[in-house]
Symmetry: C2
């Protein structure tokens, strides 16, 4: 049974162990132990200070990831270990799936108009503000750069908010439904904005024009996928789950649910949406009630089955997100000024979402819930690094660093701010 390596008594042999030799999971196992321990302790501290546990996980991640500044880089491998990255990505997938399972299609439709209004305001306002910031701060950069800066401010990253809502016990609130619904719509809008901006820049370089047909195709594909997934899912999912309950194999409930989750996530990715949108859509069409053939015979509920998976995967995402925060980005004053202005534009821009949510709900909570940009701003910025106009990169290294700081600020500010907002009652 031994996975045999490191035979120190035969060091003069070079053993070509290939895949069968050293256990490639060993660093991941170490990383997981560190992550769980740190997440548990920092989460606890955070909860005792009256904050959501996820804030503790993020900040502990930041501390852990920047130990290198104090001369201890022994855990830096975690930041770039592909296995940890994979578990983090599966984590946010399962988190959004769970959020979906806890929501029903009916609930989402009941907030549909308000979510749409919140999403539109939350894309248009930060885009306008971002353009303004670019025009004011980098006047010589030209309209393409301004447009790109504006685009990086548009897309919400819903993972943080979803987790904070769970930590606060408010994931069943109308605000939560609006935020998640708006974030899904945001994802489609974000695709369109990026498509247009990159298309226009490309067209400017080559002298060709960006076709409206191509832009329309992005919209049709994305919206079409979401509608199809929901319509087919509402019909199919309960039938698949009910059929699975007739199997003699133990634990079919979880297996079937994960298959639905992962298939839809993969299809969403293939369409060009984020995989987590598919995971959410799969969860949305699944309801606890569908699992009654299981629970009525004493099996665990789907929530009880998903809960340990959420616990095992999700902290990896948040601690890793913290670890990848490079505090040295904050050291450059030139970067910091631009970052400050960008962050203000990003926050005010998304707070406007709250206005679209209607007077019946806590508008602050909705607006704040839309604030985090997470990875998505970085993805936009990365694309900008690779685009150039007349040989000059659209996103300069300074601008990139400023965007990184903006992402950090919007992510870190959300847990305490959302906690504060839910402390107030709706008007």
């Amino acid at each position: 049974m031994a996975r045999l390596r490191r035979h120190r008594f035969v060091p003069f042999l070079v053993l070509p162990l290939a895949a069968a030799g050293p256990d490639p999971s060993a660093p991941v196992i170490l990383a997981l132990a560190v992550i769980y321990l740190v997440a548990l302790l920092a989460g606890e501290l955070s909860v005792r200070l009256g904050q959501p546990a996820v804030l503790g996980e993020l900040l502990a991640g930041v501390a852990l990831g920047n130990l290198g500044l104090l001369g201890f880089g022994g855990l830096d491998f975690i930041k770039t270990e592909p296995g940890v990255d994979l578990l983090a990505r599966i984590g946010v997938l399962i988190l959004l799936f769970e959020v979906g399972v806890e929501s029903t299609v009916r609930q989402m439709l009941s907030v549909g108009t308000r979510a749409l209004a919140a999403a539109l305001l939350g894309v248009v306002t930060p885009f306008a503000l971002g353009w303004l910031v670019g025009w004011w701060w980098l006047p010589d950069a030209g309209p393409f750069v301004h447009a790109f800066i504006a685009a990086t401010l548009t897309a919400t990253s819903v993972g943080i908010t979803a987790r904070v809502l769970k930590d606060l016990g408010t994931s069943q609130s109308a605000e939560a439904k609006i935020i998640v619904g708006a974030a899904v719509i945001d994802d489609v809008l974000g695709l369109v904005v990026l498509a247009v901006v990159t298309g226009v820049i490309a067209a400017a370089n080559t002298g060709t024009a960006m076709g409206y047909g191509a832009m329309g195709l992005v919209v049709v594909k994305s919206v079409g996928f979401l509608v199809a997934a929901t319509v087919i899912g509402v019909w199919l999912a309960p039938r698949v789950v009910a059929r699975s309950a007739r199997l003699r194999t133990k634990g079919a409930a979880l297996a079937v649910s994960l298959v639905l989750c992962f298939v839809t996530a993969y299809l969403a990715y293939q369409i060009g949406l984020a995989a987590i949108i598919g995971a959410f859509a799969a969860g949305l069409v699944l309801e606890s009630a569908h699992y009654s053939p299981y629970t009525s015979r004493g099996d665990q509920s789907i929530e009880d089955l998903l809960h340990p998976l959420v616990q095992a995967f999700v902290p990896v995402f948040f601690v890793l997100m913290g670890m990848r925060t490079d505090l040295s980005s904050f050291a450059d004053l030139g970067v910091l000024g631009l970052a400050g202005v960008l962050s203000v534009a990003a926050i005010i821009g998304k707070l406007s979402s709250g206005l679209g949510a209607g007077a019946a709900v806590n508008r602050w909570a909705v607006g704040i819930g839309m604030v985090p940009r997470g990875e998505v701003g970085l993805i936009f910025a990365n694309i900008g690094l690779g685009l150039s106009i007349g040989g000059v990169a659209v996103i300069s290294p300074t601008l990139y660093s400023a965007i990184v700081v903006m992402v950090i600020v919007t992510t870190m500010i959300t847990p305490p701010a959302l906690k504060w907002a839910f402390g107030r009652r709706p008007a």
Copy 2:
């Protein structure tokens, strides 16, 4: 929120998306969906045919992995996808941890002598038979090759058996404790055998002698680790769990358990043992009773918490193990003859373990439970591929293929044979 890539409307741009671009988890998500679906259907078929579900998972894996022979290789990426490999490894870790949690130190000590006898017989007999096979089938190869063939037959791979015992509902039996205990001891003995054989070959090449001190060190380190992990764990684990129950963070029970599991697994790996031995040791010192502060307030039991993790990870291991079975190994008649003789030696050798288990238990079950070689035989063989004497590889390609077939045969034969053995009652 979009993870944006594949902008087909800007194909003339090369976007250096780096880590932020294409979602590297996408193929893993697809692989997981396929694996869960196939495992569920094949497991169900297997159960309906009166066999353990794991046999269905293995055979479905074999079918899936050899679709390439029929011209469909679209899923072959799963075999080599590092993310899937990682999840499989974590899966067998969690499986052994769960087996450990379901066992107590007292139970293991009560079968200690019989497990030791079973392990010793299960190492000595296959070693002797393996040597005999080598001497008979490859008379010109010399004693080093014979010794190496013998060594590849020694180590039990307990994952299959642990899973079959669970499928059969016999994981609480005395036979199960003896098998798992013997497999742990086997791991230590396997280390020693390999150390001695490779050391002797190396010494023959360089003219130096293999020190008894180095061999002794392997034994002392391995046994010392197991004793220390158990003694410290029995004292520490209940205290850590009880302390964690006082935290306000939800779900500390699972987090703390996984930390203990992964830390011990990592330490075991560092010592030179398989990580799963550490996971088992961590589970062994943890008992359901330690979690009473949690369960008494209505939290999920540790078994209920581990169950979904086992379901999410473990099928990946078995389907992947099946997929990596290359059926074309069976096509070479020259290989098949040697493979057949090796397999017989491997099976009879391990059946002798049953004799050590004492008359009070089902000896067939114990002997059969020790039969699977799984990955371990392959690891030994891989090391042999890299060793040479006077410039000739210790393990030739033909011999390697024969060992692969032996591993397949011992693995596939175990689920139905164990089912048969438990159908008989102990003498």
